[in-house]
């Protein structure tokens, strides 16, 4: 299963023996990583951050490697972040904006991927609207697959960059209260973060309209509530998830006005959190819907740090996967 049951995850709270490599040749989801692997990625990402501070922001680690960014969903942020990460590592990169209508044209995802594979890329970074698309490609492709977001399933590099950002501000992850507020139901960011924060021992609260709380959420090992005040109370980290306005049509919430009134993160609501709370958002922001502008731009916001950490985390993942010997697990 994707998310191990809470009981299993508690067991992973034991301090992990450091590891020097990843076991899997793909990054399909956070749920496949061990705590030690997560720490390896985060530590590597911290070292990668230095590259971004140089005048010449480029190292030759992936010279001669070809990385294809195969994006079936529009994405500026994630695609750009991966492209920068790849370029900083000197990989040859190609971004393919495959429209999801290629299915309508008759070409299947597997065929599209096989066509790209025929050009012998080393890695494929895949963003797809269907949950499980990366697992499927990993089963039929010989390239390494990095999940850049699959449907409502996982967005592992986002969760890793979120945790990297949290760790910079609050090194003792295991004692933190993290409140995740927004559209929980459709969010791959939620699933990856719940798996990752749970693995690292954080006390995770998830909050959203009852229409947007995933069925079976109690087995995610989190506390679910529709009271944003309860979720934010004493929180060290408040992470907001994007509300897609088209969800209004699906009867998930009546209006952006009411959403903001009930769940939007305003300064007074935030006063319930710890004084040194940090505010996160995976972007893009809907100002005045999930977050008030003064909060987004305020002193607690680490939203732009998340973006810079995104490049470092993606460099780390690319580097660690590229370094695995051929024929690895």
């Amino acid at each position: 299963m994707t998310l191990p049951p809470a009981a299993d995850r508690a067991a992973t709270g034991v301090p992990a023996q450091p590891v020097q490599r990843l076991r899997s040749r793909h990054l399909l989801g956070v749920a496949d990583l061990t705590p030690a692997e997560v720490l390896l990625i985060l530590d590597t990402a911290e070292a990668m951050r230095e590259v971004g501070t140089r005048t010449i922001k480029k190292v030759p680690a992936l010279r001669g490697k070809t990385v294809v960014n195969l994006f079936f969903e529009p994405s500026t942020r994630t695609r750009t972040s991966f492209e920068i990460a790849e370029k900083r590592l000197s990989a040859d990169t190609l971004s393919v904006a495959a429209s999801s209508s290629s299915v309508a044209k008759g070409e299947t995802l597997v065929d599209t991927a096989r066509n790209i594979e025929a050009m012998a890329p080393d890695m494929i970074v895949l963003r797809h609207q269907s949950s499980g698309a990366c697992q499927m490609l990993a089963g039929v492709c010989s390239s390494r697959i990095i999940n850049a977001g699959d449907g409502m399933h996982e967005h592992p590099t986002q969760a890793l960059l979120d945790v990297l950002t949290i760790r910079e501000h609050k090194p003792a992850l295991a004692s933190l209260k993290v409140a995740i507020v927004g559209d929980l139901l459709h969010s791959r960011v939620l699933r990856s973060n719940v798996a990752l924060l749970g693995m690292l021992g954080a006390d995770v609260w998830v909050c959203g309209p009852t229409t947007m709380i995933p069925p079976g959420v109690s087995r995610f090992g989190v506390t679910a509530t529709s009271s944003v005040d309860a979720a934010v109370e004493g929180a060290d980290v408040v992470m907001l998830l994007r509300i897609q306005l088209e969800r209004m049509r699906g009867h998930f919430f009546p209006s952006r006005r009411e959403y903001f009134r009930l769940f939007g993160m305003s300064a007074e609501r935030l006063a319930r959190a710890k004084p040194d709370v940090i505010i996160m958002h995976p972007g893009p922001l809907n100002r005045g819907v999930e977050i008030a502008s003064d909060v987004a731009d305020g002193p607690y916001s680490v939203i732009l740090e998340q973006v810079s950490n995104g490049v470092a985390v993606r460099m780390a993942v690319l580097y660690l996967l590229a370094g695995l010997e051929e024929g690895g697990a």
Partner: protein, 183 residues
């Protein structure tokens, strides 16, 4: 396993190198040390300490991780891949004479990677190479400017440097057969 250098010998070698550095370099302001991770770093710091002792001048010292510049990223046999650590060079290397410091000079590939890396940080006046041990078997046209000890070895042997800062004690030893040593 044969011990070829003990703490006193290592100290003496590094002090001799420090004096040689001063002899060969006029203008201390231009000098900076860059230690290659892992054991080049404490050696660079010890040399900085020696220089301060001798001339009461602090030569800045940085840390270089060459992992991202290695030419063997995907060629490793089954062994673990090198863990990337932070590079910290808290000064501009432009217009400086850089003393690049490592523990063992072997094939020269690490130094090649370090030279590539340094060039990405700026344009130094010159780069000079400092090593505690030169064990021979070069695969690239690279030569050290300062050598603590020339140590003839067979290619199968492995040379291990231990330093108090990283290992708890100072010692250089040779072991047979070679395990992985690509310094």
């Amino acid at each position: 396993m044969a011990v070829v250098m003990e703490a006193a010998l290592i100290d003496r070698a590094l002090m001799r190198i420090s004096h040689e550095i001063l002899e060969r370099n006029r203008g201390l302001e231009e000098l900076a040390l860059v230690g290659i991770r892992t054991r080049g770093v404490p050696i660079a710091q010890r040399i900085a300490g020696n220089l301060f002792e001798i001339v009461r001048h602090r030569v800045p010292s940085g840390t270089l991780d060459i992992t991202l510049y290695r030419d063997d990223l995907m060629r490793h046999p089954v062994g673990p891949q090198p863990v990337l650590r932070r590079t910290e060079i808290p000064f501009s290397i432009d217009e400086r004479r850089i003393l690049l410091v490592d523990d063992v000079l072997f094939t020269g590939r690490t130094i090649r990677a370090a030279l590539d890396a340094l060039v990405d940080f700026g344009r130094p006046l010159a780069i000079q190479l400092v090593v505690l041990v030169d064990r021979g078997h070069r695969e690239l046209p690279i030569k050290a400017d300062y050598v603590g000890k020339n140590l003839p070895t067979s290619i199968r042997e492995s040379v291990q440097v231990r330093l108090a800062e990283t290992d708890g004690f100072d010692e250089v030893s040779i072991r047979e057969p070679a395990s992985e040593d690509r310094s």
